[in-house]
């Protein structure tokens, strides 16, 4: 067959793949972004059920920047993608909470707000906390100081009360740690800035607003987006360098470079290489969405996000059972300052879950297991926020099995492999990783990883 040669083929139309595609198309590179599924967005997407749209992934967009701010990650990213800030129609959070054991931190966006929160809940720790903020601001996680040591250990150099240490670790772990038990210092620094020093917001319209903007921009620049085009194999030339991809249907696309957002282990599998078991991500989640009869705030719960752990020492690991409802994340999407939900509440609860147990369930038991797990999760949410069950008009839930099916991430590993490849190299010439397995975090981080990979590996690459 007559092959069309691309400058780059991008595997996966998630955040990183779309961003890489936009950058390349913007500079007249011939690029196609491929995805096995019908909807783009990857982990951050949406689906429709019963006439309603349910978001996956996006609870909050981190890296909130006030209008006019130009030097922080979000405005820089939008500039690189040439997407106007207005297009995202960002609404700030109201306030959010961290609840660990009996302690509760209540914070809004920006440094002053989190410092106030700590001064109120842990008055003896405020000087240490301010020193921590200085250390976070001074640390460059991408430079020569890069430090993958234990954040828990580093934090204890500034903070004496272990409960405050856990309060800071819980949201950071839930928002991006691919490693069990331990949060790396570099990851802590990036997420602490993104979540606390900058802050949380949400596009009005949810993830679809962002996805529409990304798609429009990609097509406007001349990039191609092909859905239902799963990559079955990354093809290598006689020197072992990537030369193209073969799609599920057998069609082959030739290209100069392949950028893969499939994940480290998954990408290597596409070239026929199996990875060691310890490279497989083990962390996955169940998430419920309850549509409420009234706004969540009218039902007595005002916080936008609640990050919780009943245990005073937070256990971030694959649970022994189907779900671990002793910790989790609650998101009331209608508690952002503006939203599209009218008089309904939209209330989500996310807890750690065990992919292998969910996958091994016989079909007959799967639905019952979902109901039982949902009950545990919603009861847990009731202890720290609101039990939505008496107020629910519609409900849906996904499990690690759903995540694996729709994203192709082995083990339903939302944050990918614990073995990150920061430079994107996996040992195959002209094949580069983008996305979560470069160690970038959150929606903004994923988009930036796509931008950086497109810049470095294609736009700045010497022409062959």
């Amino acid at each position: 067959m007559a092959n069309e040669r691309y400058d780059a083929v991008v595997v996966g139309a998630g955040m990183s793949g779309l961003a890489a595609g936009i950058r390349l198309a913007q500079y007249d590179k011939r690029v196609v972004v491929l995805d096995r599924h019908a909807l783009w967005g990857g982990l951050n997407s949406f689906y429709k059920r019963g006439g309603r749209r349910y978001d996956t992934g996006l609870h909050a967009l981190t890296n909130w920047a006030p209008p006019g701010e130009k030097s922080t990650p979000l405005p820089k990213l939008l500039r690189q993608l040439r997407i106007g800030r207005d297009e995202l129609d960002l609404a700030e959070q109201g306030f959010s909470e961290v609840v660990v054991g009996g302690a509760r931190l209540s914070f809004g966006n920006g440094r002053a707000s989190i410092e106030d929160a700590v001064a109120r809940a842990f008055p003896a720790e405020i000087d240490g906390f301010r020193a921590l903020v200085q250390a976070v601001l001074a640390h460059d996680p991408f430079g020569a100081q890069a430090d993958s040591g234990s954040a828990r250990a580093r934090l204890s150099t500034w903070i004496r009360d272990p409960l405050l240490v856990e309060c800071l670790l819980v949201p950071v772990a839930f928002y991006g740690s691919a490693r069990e038990d331990e949060v790396e210092w570099d990851l802590f620094v990036v997420l602490f800035r993104s979540m606390f020093l900058e802050g949380l917001a949400r596009p009005v319209g949810g993830i679809k607003t962002l996805l529409d903007a990304l798609r429009r921009r990609l097509l406007e620049c001349g990039g191609e987006l092909r859905m239902r085009a799963g990559v079955e194999r990354i093809l290598l030339d006689e020197h072992g360098a990537a030369r193209g991809v073969r799609l599920d249907g057998g069609e082959e696309l030739e290209c100069e470079r392949v950028l893969s957002s499939a994940g480290r282990v998954e990408t290597l599998r596409l070239v026929g290489v199996e990875s060691p078991a310890e490279h497989l991500g083990r962390l996955s989640f169940c998430e419920t969405t309850s549509i409420l009869t009234r706004p969540t705030a009218a039902l007595g719960h005002g916080a936008t996000m609640v990050f919780f752990s009943f245990d005073e020492r937070f256990a971030y690991r694959r649970p022994a059972g189907l779900v671990d409802a002793t910790s989790g994340v609650v998101c009331a999407s209608d508690n952002y300052q503006r939203h599209e939900y009218g008089d309904a509440g939209v209330y989500r609860v996310t807890c750690l879950a065990n992919h292998d147990l969910w996958s091994a369930l016989p079909d007959d038991d799967y639905q019952a297991a979902k109901r039982a797990s949902a009950d545990q999760m919603l009861a847990a949410a009731g202890k720290v926020a609101l039990d939505p069950r008496p107020h629910t008009t519609a409900f849906d839930m996904f499990t690690p099995k759903t995540i694996r099916r729709y994203t192709g991430h082995l083990g339903g590993a939302v944050y990918g492999s614990p073995a990150k490849a920061r430079d994107g190299h996996v040992g195959v010439e002209r094949l580069h990783l983008v996305g979560t397995d470069q160690g970038t975090l959150g929606i903004v981080g994923s988009l930036l990883s796509g931008v950086a990979a497109a810049n470095r590996h294609v736009l700045m690459a010497p022409t062959r």
């Binding site: 500079y27 130009k70 030097s71 690189q80 040439r82 106007g84 810049n455 736009l459 700045m460």
Partner: protein, 89 residues
């Protein structure tokens, strides 16, 4: 392209990359990044736009020549001869 046209060409590229910057007061002999918010990723974009619009290739080791508008004129003048100014693209 003469000096004024090259400055116009560069300013139009910067305005494309950074639509929220006010370029009306830019001095030609002061580093661009000292006057407006431009980082190394933005300089890459200036170079990419020069290639896209005018077919001018600037190798990475020469990016530093583009630090000021005067520098841009000095470096680009030989490459921009006979090229037509394209603004608002």
């Amino acid at each position: 392209m003469n000096r004024e046209e090259i400055i116009l060409a560069i300013k139009d590229i910067i305005q494309t990359i950074a639509p929220d910057e006010d370029l009306s007061e830019l001095k030609t002999d002061v580093r661009l990044r000292d006057q407006i918010e431009l980082d190394s990723m933005d300089f890459l974009d200036i170079v990419m736009e020069l290639r896209k619009r005018y077919g001018v290739q600037v190798p990475e080791e020469d990016y530093k020549e583009l630090a000021t508008l005067d520098g841009c004129v000095a470096y680009l003048a030989p490459h921009m001869q006979g090229k037509t100014l394209k603004v608002g693209v």
